[in-house]
């Protein structure tokens, strides 16, 4: 483990213990749950739920998630390019850096325009 990350690891463990410990400690202090069976029904504005809420929902949410994953991968590939861009400019590799980006963004743009025409971006 690189030394700089060890405080970060300790920090994240500390952060994780904070809600857990508070939940457990105050569970002992606060009054217990009392009430009839109606109290522990799901709250749906007074209408008794007839079915489980875990049913089928629109597949559009899947499309949103899928587009997000694909675009996120492209963004992750853009980050290394972005941080090296000025180094390349300093080495007079501007043509290389820019043309590389144009090919990459061109591929992305083709996909984007296709999605637009197909109506896949009308997400609601």
């Amino acid at each position: 483990m690189p030394a700089a990350y060890i405080p970060l690891l300790l920090f994240s463990l500390l952060v994780l213990t904070f809600p857990v410990v508070t939940l457990v400690v105050f569970k002992c202090i606060r009054p217990g749950s009392r009430g009839g069976p109606a109290k522990f029904q799901p709250y749906e504005c007074g209408i008794l739920p007839e079915t489980s809420a875990r049913g089928r929902y629109s597949a559009r949410f899947y499309i949103i998630g899928m587009l997000f994953v694909v675009f996120e991968v492209e963004t992750i590939f853009l980050f290394p390019w972005a941080i090296l861009f000025r180094t390349w400019l300093a080495q007079h590799l501007a043509a290389f850096a820019l043309s590389y980006m144009f090919v990459f963004l061109g591929i992305l743009l083709v996909g984007y325009v296709w999605l637009y025409k197909k109506g896949a971006l009308d997400l609601a």
Partner: protein, 175 residues
Amino acid sequence: MLDSVIFYFFAGIAVISAALMVTRRNAIHSAVFLITTLLATAGIFLQLRAEFLFIAQIILYVGGIMVLFIFVIMLVRLDVPLPQIRSGLQKWIALFVALTVGVEAGVVIFLARKAPGQGLLIPNPAPADKLPPNTEELANSLFRSYLLPFEIASVLLLVAMVGAVVMAKKRTEAP
């Protein structure tokens, strides 16, 4: 010392939650344990000084792909317990395959460790107390040596996007 403590910490989390993942009946619980495994693996990447891959794993795998999995589990009502093993035979086949592959690979790794002057006796890696800027290094390698595979990967993503949209769209247009 510290290195191995951290390794065993993450490796233990990874293996235990992977085992829990394949045995849970409820798909959402499986997804949660897979997330734990992936985060522990990200920790292992960090322990191996692969900084950029550590964060890429968190952003892409956990923040992206797993969210997609959870979405789909919620959308298609997969979150009810399902009958598990197809037949008794299936279990034995799985055990047999796992044992065969496991013993084989384990023996190979073990023997290779013992073989003098070759195999896994890899030249000493550079001790890295101060990290080299991993992202820059990776970016240089990616854009100098592996430019073509990289562009192909982005075409692959494009194809995947198109395929997925075509497949899911057909249903939503004609309900």
